[in-house]
């Protein structure tokens, strides 16, 4: 299971745990701007009783091309047209590939990812058709798959709104105060309240009728 430390993947972990899965959680330290999410991932994994949590190190700033991996590109603080500059080239493909490697070694046939295609930023690798294509590729890629252990890529949030995701997590007892969504969270994990990710999160709590536990950065 991919675990970023954000709201969505934490909810996926809660869902998978409620379904009885033993969960091996994988985070990626890709030298992202919002490195506070990695601490959040560790908190969430422990809180929800993950079987294991590992963080792979892979410096995607070697390629750049995103506000999250190139410090010269600012995170937009108001909505933009099209796919925003916070899109990280091939990030989900890289992370799912790592999950596929670990799944094969674990002899697991199930990969979970917290993508959703409604309240999101239009990232191409958050759509159902992408997830299906990754799964088809994965089932030709590995020794296990060739030997008959097919892989399922689960994306339980794919058709849910942010409000529905939050309601589901709350129902499962998830403490969203553990999670960090902000693209430019400070070291303490406090949120800017302005970026796309903060905006979707804040609106989600409002629409869900759930108190927002996010701590926002103090403004001058």
């Amino acid at each position: 299971m991919l675990l970023s430390g954000g709201l969505d993947s934490a909810t996926v972990l809660a869902i998978a745990r409620s379904q009885g899965y033993e969960c091996y959680c994988l985070s990626l330290d890709y030298h992202q701007r919002h490195v506070a999410e990695l601490k959040a991932a560790a908190r969430v994994a422990q809180s929800l009783g993950a079987k294991a949590h590992r963080t792979a190190q892979l410096d995607l700033s070697m390629f750049g091309g995103s506000a999250l991996t190139d410090s010269h590109i600012d995170v937009p603080e108001s909505p933009t047209q099209g796919i925003p500059v916070t899109y990280v080239p091939a990030r989900n493909t890289i992370m799912l590939s790592l999950a596929l490697a670990w799944a094969e070694v674990l002899e697991s046939q199930d990969i979970f990812i917290g993508v959703n295609a409604l309240d999101y930023s239009g990232y191409p690798d958050c759509r159902g058709e992408y997830v299906k294509a990754f799964q088809a590729m994965a089932n030709l890629a590995t020794k296990s798959a060739v030997e008959g252990k097919t892989i399922t890529v689960h994306a339980p949030l794919i058709d849910m709104t942010k409000a529905e995701i939050i309601q589901q997590g709350v129902k499962l007892g998830l403490d969203y105060g553990l999670t960090v969504s902000c693209y430019q969270a400070d070291e303490a994990g406090h949120a800017c309240g302005l970026c796309d990710s903060c905006r979707f999160r804040r609106e989600g709590f409002a629409k869900a009728g759930v108190a927002d536990p996010t701590i926002y950065q103090a403004k001058d």
Copy 2:
């Protein structure tokens, strides 16, 4: 372009250069046993006039599950049944994902990989159907693809024998003495002569009628 430092990917680089491509070569330091191949990759990239050569760092020994990433699993020194333990879970998927990320940042629509499905070890991620499935997934994964810049994953060696690959490289002036194929090459890049990779390489030179430039390790 993925460049391992071995015979196959060096030939792919020679082919792509002969077709006029500006080549950006990507190697992966995944803490492989045969780290000498990375030095070979640098030599090959320079010799063939690559535009750039980068080496990503990603420690796949965190997952293990292969003789190439787990020092407790020996490299077989005679042919084995089925897919051998030198198979690295999801390695080509991980490397192609990284190539996809870099290609998108470079605004390139062409990825090259040196897989071949004849004289090989039966690795699932070296087959044409796998490459096609990766390409289909890639074309749903990226912002560039969604905006109409489709990606082609070129695998020019896919249907060639090792001998044909070598003949093609020699015709293009490639010096195979620069390359290292051995799974347990020593620091100097000298080959064991016993592993699958050495065996395919040695037989390839013999069948191609080309002198084998490989330097083998001195035996006691």
